[in-house]
C-alpha cells in the first residue's frame, strides 16, 4: 500500500516544533550579556540614597560634603527633576525622589554619580538628611479606618471593588468559611535591576539600555519626568534575567537618565540583591475571608468573600490586582450568587504590584482551600466536589461575563484523576536526602506521611477593563530574508523563539532575522498577563500575513492564477486549483515588502459598582495534583511530584510550554513552602538569598504535564497564554497535600490557611483541632 504521491513539505523551525532559543547556548555557557554586563567608554556609576524610615518628614537634605568628595560628579534630589515629579503605572503617585515625606524604608531620596561604586557608597554616607519621624501605618486593616490620617494626598484606599450577583440572601445546606493569609512573595528574578544611560552628544536626549517588561510604558514615564519629548528618549532592551511582574514599574530608569544628562557622560546603575528587594514591587500580602454555600450534594450556591490587599506606600497596579482577585473569587466553578468585597489599601510597607498570577494567586489559594473544606463537609473527595461544580464554555461568571474561551475544566479535573501515582512505593529504604528535611538528615522513613492534594484555577489573559491593549510588529522581506521588528520585551519567556516560528510557518521561509528590541517601532504592550504570544504573536502573524498576501498577489498576477487558490505548505507555495507547487525561497527572489501592523484584542468594559461587566478578554484553565511527603512531627515537607493538566489552546513551542509549566510550578511551590519577605516595622529581615529562600533542585520535584490542546477560536493561532497558570493552583495543591498528610493523624486537625506554610504551622495543626 502506498500513500498518495504528495511530497511532505515541511519548514524547519516552524510552529509546533521546539527550535533552540537564539540566546540559549549563550545563557547556558554564561556568555550572554545581561543588562548588568553593559558598559560604555567614559562610563560613570550611579547609586541611590534610600530612606531609613517607614514614614518621616524630610526637614533638610545637605549634599555639600558629599558633593565635595573627589571622584563625585553630581548629586541629585527631587529639586533636580526637570519634568513631572512623580510616576506610576496606573496612578502617577510615586515621587522620582521623595521631597517632603518618605513613605517606606527604601524610598529613593537622592542619587549620586561618581567614578566608581566605592566612591558612590562613601558619598551616600556623607549626604545628611534630617528626618522628623511620623507614625507609620503598618496594618492594612487600619488603613480602612476613617480615623487613620491619610499617608498620601491620594488617600489610604487605593480601590474598593465589590462583585455582587444573583440572590445574596440565599443560604446553602452546607456552609464553610475561614480566613486565609498570603505572605509577601518576591519575583526573585536572577538578573538584578540595571541600566546604562548614554546622553546624546548635544545633551538634548538620552538612550537608555534597560532590563524591563515594557519599553514604551517606561518611555512615556521617563520622558515626562525628564521633560523631554518622547522622540528625544530612546529605550533599548538590555539582556533581561527574569521579570515575573517585578520590572513593570519604573525602578532606576529615571534616575540613571537624569544622572547621564546631568554629567554628559554614560552612567550605569545596578542594584545589589538587597537593594533589589527595595527597588521593585512585590506580590501583595493578602487577608482573605471566604464563606461557601452549597447544596447537600456539594453544588455551589453562593460564594461570599472579603479581600484586603496591602498595596504598600504607592499604588502601582494595586487597583488592577484587586479586580483580578475579586473577579476570580469563584474559581473555575459555576456559581450563580455572590457577594464579594475587596479593597486595596496604602500602608507604609513596601509597595506591591504585579507578580505572575496577579491577584488570582491569592484568590485561588483561598477558593481552593474552601473547596477542600466543602468536600469534607459534604463527604465527597476533592476530585468529586470539583467535578460537580466545573464550569464550561458559555457559563456566566459572577461578573455577568460569559466565558467564551474554551473552558475544559472537566477535562482538566478528570485528567488529574487519571494521572498514575509515582511508583516509588513510598520506599522505606530511600536515602534521607530524598525525605522531608533533605540534606539536613532529620527524618526517618517511619516519620513520613504521604499526602495528595488538588488545585484548579481560572486565569484571565491580557489586560482588562477597557484598556486599549495592542501590540505592534513589522515584517520586512528582502533578499529572501524575513526580518521582524517589535518592541516586545524578551524576559526569558521565549518570544524571540516563537516570533521566527510564526514567520516561518506563515511565509514558508526559513531565514528569519530579528531586529533590535527597542522603541524604534510602536508599543508591544507589556510582557505580562500571559499576553505576548497572543498579542505580539498576533501582531507578528498579522504582519507576516500581509506580506504573504502581497506575495500571493504577485504570484497570481505573474502566473495568471487565482490568489485565493494559493496556500503555504511547509516551505512551499501551492496552488490548490492546479496542484502546482514551488519553493517559497525561489518565489520570493527579488521581492521586497515591508508591512507594519497594530494588533488589538477585542474590547473589554469596566466593571460597574457591583462588579458587573465583561471586563476580561479571555481565560485559561489549569489543574495541579501535588504528592508530598511530610514529617508531621517536625513540620518538614518534601514535594514528591506535581502533575498538571493545562489548557494551552495550542502548544506553538512545546519545549517552551514545558519550561513555563515547570518554572511556574517552582514559583508556586516557593510560595507554598518558603518564599516570603519578612518585614518588621517595614524593614526587610531577610534581604538576601541567604534567608529569602527559593526552591533548590532538592526541593523541586519532577513534573508530569499533560497539555489540553483545543485551539481557542479567539486566539491567534489558537494559542492561549501559558505563563501564569502554572503558578496559580500549584500552591493550594501542595498545601492540600500537606493537609492530607496531617489529617492521617486523626480527623478534625485544624485547617491550614497560610502561605508560605511554616514548619511550626504544621506542628501546631497536628496539636490542635479545628475551631468550628
Amino acid at each position: 500500500m502506498s500513500d498518495l504521491d504528495i511530497r511532505e513539505s515541511v519548514i524547519n523551525g516552524g510552529l509546533g516544533q521546539s527550535p533552540v532559543r537564539p540566546d540559549g547556548v549563550a545563557k547556558a555557557e554564561g556568555s550572554y550579556e545581561f543588562s548588568s554586563d553593559l558598559s560604555a567608554d567614559n562610563m560613570l556609576i550611579g547609586k541611590t540614597l534610600r530612606s531609613p524610615h517607614q514614614h518621616a518628614r524630610i526637614i533638610r537634605i545637605d549634599t555639600s560634603d558629599a558633593s565635595a568628595m573627589t571622584g563625585v560628579h553630581r548629586i541629585i534630589t527631587a529639586e533636580d527633576v526637570p519634568g513631572k515629579a512623580t510616576y506610576g503605572l496606573i496612578a502617577s503617585d510615586q515621587p522620582v525622589f521623595a521631597s517632603d515625606v518618605v513613605r517606606y524604608i527604601g524610598e529613593p531620596v537622592a542619587a549620586v554619580v561618581a567614578d566608581d561604586e566605592e566612591i558612590c557608597s562613601r558619598a551616600l554616607e556623607a549626604i545628611v538628611v534630617e528626618y522628623e519621624p511620623l507614625t507609620p501605618l503598618i496594618d492594612a486593616r487600619l488603613a480602612l479606618d476613617t480615623d487613620t490620617p491619610p499617608i498620601h494626598p491620594d488617600g489610604n484606599v487605593i480601590r474598593e471593588q465589590n462583585v455582587i450577583c444573583g440572590d445574596t440572601t440565599v443560604i446553602g445546606d452546607i456552609v464553610v468559611e475561614d480566613h486565609y493569609t498570603i505572605g509577601m512573595q518576591d519575583q526573585a528574578f536572577l538578573g538584578l535591576e540595571s541600566a546604562l544611560a548614554i546622553p546624546d552628544a548635544d545633551g538634548a536626549g538620552v538612550e537608555c539600555h534597560v532590563a524591563t517588561q515594557w519599553l514604551h510604558e517606561d518611555l512615556g514615564q521617563v520622558a515626562a519626568c525628564l521633560d523631554l519629548p518622547e522622540s528625544s528618549v530612546r529605550l533599548v532592551l538590555g539582556g533581561v534575567g527574569g521579570a515575573f511582574g517585578g520590572r513593570e514599574d519604573i525602578s532606576l530608569q529615571v534616575h540613571v537618565c537624569l544622572l547621564a544628562l546631568a554629567t554628559g557622560r554614560p552612567v550605569k546603575m545596578h542594584y545589589s540583591r538587597s537593594e533589589s528587594f527595595l527597588g521593585h514591587v512585590h506580590r501583595h500580602p493578602a487577608q482573605i475571608w471566604m464563606r461557601h454555600h452549597a447544596t447537600k450534594e456539594g453544588k455551589l450556591v453562593k460564594v461570599e468573600a472579603e479581600f484586603v490587599f496591602d498595596g504598600g506606600a504607592y499604588a502601582s497596579t494595586s487597583s488592577a490586582v484587586l479586580v483580578n482577585a475579586v473577579t476570580h473569587a469563584q474559581g473555575p466553578y459555576r456559581c450563580e450568587n455572590a457577594e464579594v468585597r475587596g479593597v486595596a489599601v496604602r500602608t507604609n510597607n513596601l509597595p506591591c504590584g504585579a507578580m505572575r498570577g496577579f491577584g488570582v494567586v491569592q484568590a485561588c489559594f483561598a477558593h481552593e482551600r474552601q473547596m477542600d473544606l466543602l468536600a469534607h463537609a459534604c463527604g465527597l473527595d476533592p476530585i468529586e466536589i470539583r467535578r460537580r461544580n466545573a464550569m464550561s464554555t458559555g457559563d456566566k461568571l459572577i461578573t455577568g461575563q460569559v466565558v467564551e474561551s474554551v473552558a475544559p475544566v472537566l477535562q482538566i479535573i478528570e485528567g488529574l484523576e487519571r494521572m498514575p501515582f509515582p511508583d516509588d512505593g513510598n520506599d522505606v529504604e530511600t536515602h534521607p536526602y530524598h525525605r522531608p528535611g533533605g540534606a539536613g538528615n532529620t527524618t526517618r522513613a517511619s516519620d513520613v506521611r504521604r499526602g495528595v492534594g488538588y488545585g484548579v484555577a481560572i486565569k484571565n489573559l491580557m489586560y482588562s477593563e477597557a484598556f486599549d491593549d495592542y501590540s505592534t510588529a513589522r515584517c520586512t522581506l528582502r533578499d529572501g530574508v524575513v526580518t521582524l521588528k517589535f518592541a516586545t520585551a524578551e524576559v526569558g519567556q521565549g518570544f524571540i523563539t516563537i516570533a521566527p516560528q510564526i514567520a516561518r510557518t506563515t511565509l514558508g521561509l526559513e531565514d528569519v532575522a530579528l531586529e533590535s528590541i527597542d522603541t524604534g517601532v510602536g508599543s508591544a504592550g507589556s510582557t505580562s498577563a500571559s499576553r505576548q504570544t497572543w498579542m505580539s504573536g498576533g501582531a507578528v502573524e498579522a504582519a507576516c500575513l500581509k506580506v504573504r498576501q502581497l506575495i500571493f498577489e504577485h504570484v497570481a498576477s505573474s502566473t495568471g492564477s487565482d490568489p485565493f487558490a494559493l496556500v503555504i505548505e511547509g516551505d512551499s507555495i501551492v496552488n490548490t486549483a492546479t496542484g502546482e507547487r514551488q519553493l517559497m525561497s525561489e518565489v520570493v527572489k527579488g521581492l521586497e515588502f515591508d508591512e507594519e501592523v497594530e494588533f488589538r484584542h477585542r474590547p473589554t468594559v469596566p466593571l460597574d459598582e457591583n462588579g458587573q461587566g465583561a471586563c476580561h478578554t479571555a481565560f485559561a484553565f489549569v489543574g495541579h495534583r501535588a504528592i508530598v511527603d511530610v514529617d508531621v512531627e517536625l513540620g518538614l515537607v518534601r514535594v514528591v511530584e506535581v502533575s498538571t493538566v493545562q489548557d494551552v489552546g495550542r502548544a506553538l513551542n512545546p519545549l517552551s510550554v514545558t519550561g513555563q509549566i515547570e518554572g511556574g510550578i517552582a514559583q508556586g511551590l516557593g510560595l507554598a513552602l518558603m518564599e516570603e519577605i519578612v518585614q518588621q516595622d517595614g524593614r526587610i529581615m531577610n534581604p538576601s538569598f541567604t534567608d529569602y529562600l527559593i526552591p533548590t533542585i532538592a526541593d523541586m520535584p519532577p513534573v508530569v504535564a499533560e497539555l489540553i490542546e483545543i485551539p481557542d477560536p479567539q486566539a491567534p493561532m489558537g494559542a492561549k497564554g501559558v505563563g501564569e497558570p502554572p503558578t496559580i493552583s500549584s500552591t493550594p495543591a501542595i498545601i492540600a497535600a500537606i493537609q492530607d498528610a496531617v489529617n492521617q493523624f486523626g480527623a478534625g486537625r485544624s485547617h491550614l490557611t497560610r502561605v508560605p506554610i511554616r514548619p511550626s504551622d504544621i506542628t501546631e495543626a497536628l496539636n490542635s483541632t479545628r475551631r468550628d
Partner: protein, 290 residues
C-alpha cells in the same frame, strides 16, 4: 587594601602581632559576603592575611596511637565528606554535607566556621559533641581551648589579635554519632535548629550539642550526663521514660529566640525531636553490632 600571602605557619605567625590590624581570610564564604553586603567594612590600613597558601593548615592526620584526628584549620567542607574523616567523625561529615552548596563547600573551611562563631555553625555543633579541642597559635606559643569554650557570643570568640586557629583535635571514639539540622528548605539553608549526638561505647558517655538555639552552640551537659548514666550500654538501650527525660533536659538547656527564620517555641520543640531520633537511631545501630 593590602593583602599578605604567607606560605608557612612561621611566616603567618610573624605577620600577626598584637598591634596589627589584620583580618584573616580563609575560604571567604562569610567574609566576602559581609564585604559585598556592606556589613563588613575595612579601614584602609587593615591588612588582609590570606591563609590559603599555608599548606600546613590543610593537613589531615590520623593518630591511632594517641586516638586523635588532627584537622588543619584550612581543611575544607568537601574534604570532610570523604575518608578518613567521614569514617572517623561521621557526624562532622554529616554536618559538612548540610553546609551551603557544592561551591561553598569547596571554598569554606572548618577553621573559618569556628572563627565566625555563629550559633548556627554546623561544623561547630558537631565538634562540640565530639569534644574536640582547638590549638591556637601565636608568636607567643600555643594554647589549647575546648571547642565548647571557644565562642563566647554571636560572632565573638576567644582568639587574641595575634592568634590564629592552627588545627582542631578530635578524639577518636568507638560508638555512634550523628548530626541533624532543620532548615525551611531541603538544602543550602541556614540552620533553624541543629543537634549532634555522640555515643561513646568505650567510655559509656553521651554528648549532645545544640545549634541555633542560643547565643553560641550549646553543650547540653545535664541531658548528656543523664543519657550517659541511664543508657544500658550492655544492650544499647534506654527506657522510653528516661529518653523522654533526656528530651526534656535538652529542651530545657536551649535558650532560643524568635527571629525571621523561626520561633523560639518551634526551635525548642525541634531540638527535642531531633535528640530523641538521633539517640534512638544510635542505639539501634549499636544494638545491631552487639
Amino acid at each position: 587594601m593590602p593583602v599578605a600571602h604567607p606560605r608557612s605557619i612561621g611566616e603567618l605567625t610573624e605577620l600577626l602581632d598584637e598591634e596589627s590590624h589584620t583580618v584573616l581570610l580563609a575560604g571567604g564564604t562569610d567574609f566576602m559576603v559581609g564585604l559585598n553586603h556592606g556589613s563588613t567594612r575595612l579601614a584602609p590600613d587593615d591588612l588582609i592575611v590570606d591563609l590559603r597558601l599555608v599548606a600546613e593548615l590543610s593537613t589531615v592526620e590520623v593518630d591511632y596511637q594517641q586516638q586523635v584526628l588532627r584537622l588543619g584549620a584550612g581543611v575544607r567542607w568537601d574534604d570532610l565528606l570523604t575518608a578518613p574523616i567521614a569514617e572517623i567523625a561521621p557526624c562532622l561529615s554529616q554536618a559538612a554535607r548540610t553546609v551551603g552548596s557544592h561551591q561553598i563547600r569547596t571554598a569554606g573551611t572548618i577553621g573559618g566556621n569556628l572563627a565566625t562563631a555563629s550559633p548556627a555553625g554546623d561544623g561547630v555543633c558537631a565538634l562540640v559533641a565530639l569534644d574536640a579541642t582547638l590549638v591556637l597559635t601565636s608568636s607567643r606559643g600555643q594554647r589549647t581551648v575546648a571547642v565548647s569554650e571557644f565562642a563566647i557570643a554571636p560572632k565573638k570568640n576567644v582568639l587574641e589579635r595575634d592568634e590564629f586557629i592552627e588545627r582542631v583535635d578530635i578524639p577518636i571514639t568507638e560508638g555512634w554519632q550523628g548530626y541533624s539540622k532543620i532548615g525551611t528548605r531541603n538544602a543550602m539553608v541556614i540552620s533553624v535548629a541543629g543537634v549532634a549526638v555522640v555515643l561513646s561505647s568505650e567510655s559509656n558517655t553521651c554528648r549532645i550539642a545544640l545549634g541555633s538555639v542560643g547565643p553560641t552552640v550549646i553543650l547540653s551537659t545535664e541531658a548528656s550526663q543523664f543519657a550517659g548514666t541511664t543508657i544500658n550500654w550492655e544492650i544499647a538501650s534506654i527506657t522510653s521514660a528516661d529518653l523522654e527525660t533526656v528530651v526534656e533536659m535538652t529542651r530545657a538547656s536551649a535558650t532560643p529566640i524568635d527571629d525571621h527564620r523561626s520561633t523560639a517555641a518551634y526551635r525548642k520543640h525541634a531540638v527535642g525531636v531531633l535528640t530523641k531520633r538521633l539517640i534512638e537511631q544510635g542505639l539501634t545501630t549499636l544494638r545491631k553490632s552487639l
